[in-house]
């Protein structure tokens, strides 16, 4: 008891000595620091609404233009290359792009916090309605989705038809030596392994293109599962990202799954040749993807949002899709609007040279022309942009 009292008074002394002016000042500094950092954080949070996307009174010619965009991750390697190369010739335009996902890009564009959005899927009719003003789609590049597989004794050359692909992913075909598969591959010795399906577990443009294809070729798929960036898969294991799917594929004998073409080639995965609409078995490549894009040109004249899966051409790889830049048809800021249109013109012409080395399929000529026409319709506060070379 007594001991306790003594130690208590000791503590009291410590308390008192803490309150000497110098120490107190230190305490104040810490307190102010915390308060400041809180204020800054809150400030950033509240800034979100009024970003630089709205009218700025600065005259167009004097300062550099800062464009901001957000959206799809799939074309990000190419876009960042573009911004880099473009900045070398155009010091007055700076472009900041955040690859937060297509959905995020659309939301940011809707809120007006970015100058352009980017999406792997065109806007749906519902999404078009939720936009505050008309939006135009500029397909910037095309990409293919490869079906990769792991069969121990089959080093390559597997051919599949759309019906079989749908059957596999619906869980109707469960063994690799199923007669439907062997009939297409008489030259291969297919094992009696069970089929293990690998799919993306995270929402992605790759999934959108693949499910879009399945919905196009299989009525059952269209009604039962549907298409989207994330769907309710009937069977299979979900891997996060291309690397997750590749991880499942590499380690599971008898597995088949879809990944971006660039990812499949870089990681030396074996992939399937797929029977296209013309009845030809086509392997995914830059050329066969561009061919698919070219064959959709007619339909795109009417509606640029048309899908190019299961395209008609003889050389067309059927599981391909465009990735798009989205911008408002009527730009509010003259400097930004002009700079953005200039950049997009560069991207669909000179920029296409950067696509091939990064395993993206360049746009066919017809789509470039289509984009040119679209870009000419862009207005600034109702006034057309002066035609530039």
């Amino acid at each position: 008891m007594g001991v306790n009292r003594i130690s208590l008074s000791g503590k009291e002394e410590v308390m008192v000595s803490l309150a000497t002016p110098r120490k107190a000042a230190q305490g104040w500094c810490i307190g102010i620091g915390i308060a400041l950092s809180l204020a800054i954080t809150l400030g950033i949070a509240s800034c979100k609404g009024k970003s630089d996307a709205q009218n700025s009174p600065t005259p167009p010619s004097l300062s550099a233009v800062n464009l901001s965009g957000a959206g799809a991750t799939f074309p990000y390697p190419l876009y960042s290359k573009w911004f880099d190369v473009y900045a070398q010739g155009h010091a007055d335009t700076r472009i900041n792009y955040q690859s937060i996902g297509s959905g995020g890009g659309i939301k940011q564009l809707q809120a007006g916090t970015v100058d352009f959005g980017a999406s792997d899927a065109p806007l749906s009719d519902d999404e078009v309605k939720t936009m505050p003003a008309p939006v135009v789609h500029i397909p910037t590049v095309a990409g293919a989705v490869a079906l990769a597989y792991n069969l121990p004794d089959v080093p390559g050359g597997l051919k599949l038809s759309p019906e079989v692909v749908a059957g596999l992913f619906l869980g109707e075909i469960t063994k690799w030596n199923d007669s439907k598969i062997t009939a297409l591959n008489p030259q291969l010795k297919l094992p009696a392994l069970p089929v293990a399906i690998a799919h993306r577990s995270d929402g992605s443009g790759t999934t959108y293109i693949f499910t879009n294809y399945l919905a196009a070729v299989s009525q059952t798929w269209a009604t039962k599962v549907g298409k989207g960036k994330s769907v309710n898969w009937p069977v299979g294991i979900g891997g996060k990202g291309n690397e997750g799917v590749a991880g499942v594929l590499k380690q599971t004998p008898g597995s088949i799954g879809y990944v971006e073409l660039a990812y499949a080639t870089q990681n030396k995965l074996t992939y399937v040749s797929i029977k296209n609409k013309a009845g030809q078995f086509v392997a995914p490549s830059i050329e066969s993807t561009t061919a698919a894009a070219a064959s959709a040109e007619q339909a795109m004249q009417k509606n640029v949002r048309v899908s190019i899966v299961n395209a008609a051409g003889a050389d067309a790889y059927p599981i391909s899709g465009f990735t798009y830049v989205l911008l408002y048809k009527d730009q509010k800021d003259a400097a930004k609007g002009t700079a953005l249109v200039d950049f997009l013109k560069w991207a669909i012409h000179d920029g296409q040279q950067q696509a091939g080395p990064l395993m993206y399929a360049p746009l066919p000529k017809a789509v470039v022309t289509l984009n040119e026409h679209t870009l000419e319709t862009i207005t600034i506060n109702g006034q057309p942009i002066g035609k530039k070379p």
């Binding site: 002016p21 305490g27 104040w28 307190g31 577990s201 995270d202 960036k229 769907v231």
Partner: protein
């Protein structure tokens, strides 16, 4: 004088000084600490309100079905959600992790606290605590590229020879609940081990000596005076591990297989609530999916709170029976 009385008289000198009796710095300090202390519960309250608000469209549309059905269909034309599979996946993977990690952690903690030679204690504790410093994505990648290939033959063997037990009756992909449980177990090991070690070390030496002097063997001493004395603290350590396992996202997402069905065996691919969020949030579109995902987060918070409250009660009940609580 009882312990409670000592406690209250300890607190009184500070309290009795009153706000106006102290100088400016002292007062500012007191109000400052008060403000920060209040800020935390307010923050939690705000978090809860915002989550509920943002989840409203989903709560209104699905009602209780959200918690009683098992489907995640995010296709824009479908948009139907019920998260039984994710709740089951979260709870089962975390429990699995506890079952695997607790015995190892406790044994390690006892060894480090009582048995290890002095020169080994430091380095060994350091290495175990190092496990906690590894980023979770590294555990995920290690899981998918190292653990899963090792696990597949084991699972295949179990499936062939013990397949009659429902636990082992599933396709042995390697990826699945068991892989997730194992990765989680490794991730929570350092937490349970270091806290338990501290608690066991805090058991007074005289208590051990008294027990040994009465003729108890080392095992008897450990079971009785040491572990019994430390049990509320050890329980706290386990809860800390459980909390970590419930919320772990990236590593689990990489190895669990992300299947939106209720798992039927230890080998089944499954989903947890955090993994569902990690997978779906970036590209969530449509009228309901963003709200449904916020509701998942809300449910996760509620489940965590319930488990923690339950654990608090357990600790409180256990420590009431102690001779003297270790935790103050």
């Amino acid at each position: 004088m009882t312990r409670m009385q000592v406690k209250s008289s300890q607190a009184s000198p500070l309290k009795n000084r009153g706000v106006f009796g102290a100088n400016l710095a002292d007062r500012a300090f007191r109000w400052g600490t008060l403000a920060f202390a209040i800020a935390i519960p307010v923050l939690i309250l705000v978090l809860g309100i915002i989550l509920t608000w943002d989840a409203m469209p989903s709560i209104r549309y699905f009602g209780w079905h959200f918690l009683t059905r098992s489907i995640w269909d995010a296709a824009p034309d479908h948009q139907y959600f019920g998260i039984v599979f994710a709740i089951v996946g979260t709870v089962v993977s975390s429990l699995l992790a506890l079952i695997l990690a607790v015995p190892i952690s406790l044994a390690t903690a006892v060894f480090l606290a009582d048995l290890a030679p002095r020169w080994l204690r430091g380095p060994l504790s350091f290495l175990i605590e190092l496990l906690a410093a590894v980023p979770s994505i590294v555990y995920g990648l290690w899981g998918i590229f190292v653990l899963v290939p090792l696990l597949r033959p084991v699972e295949t063997w179990l499936f062939m020879h013990c397949g009659f037990i429902p636990l082992f009756n599933g396709a042995p992909y390697g990826i699945g609940l068991l892989a997730a449980g194992l990765v989680l177990a490794i991730m929570i090991l350092p937490y349970i081990t270091s806290v338990s070690r501290e608690v066991i070390q805090a058991v007074p030496q005289v208590q051990r000596e008294a027990s040994l002097a009465l003729g108890a063997t080392y095992w008897e001493t450990l079971r009785g005076p040491v572990l019994r004395y430390a049990r509320s603290g050890i329980l706290g350590a386990i809860i800390l591990g459980l909390g970590r396992a419930l919320g772990e996202t990236m590593a689990v997402t990489m190895v669990i297989g992300n299947c939106t069905d209720i798992p039927t065996s230890l080998f089944s691919p499954a989903s947890t609530m955090p993994s569902l969020l990690a997978n779906e949030f970036v590209e969530a579109t449509g009228k309901l999916e963003p709200a449904a995902l916020v509701e998942v987060a809300l449910v996760l918070v509620v489940i965590t709170v319930i488990i923690n409250a339950f654990a608090r009660m357990l600790i409180w009940k256990v420590s009431k029976g102690d001779l003297q609580g270790v935790r103050e």
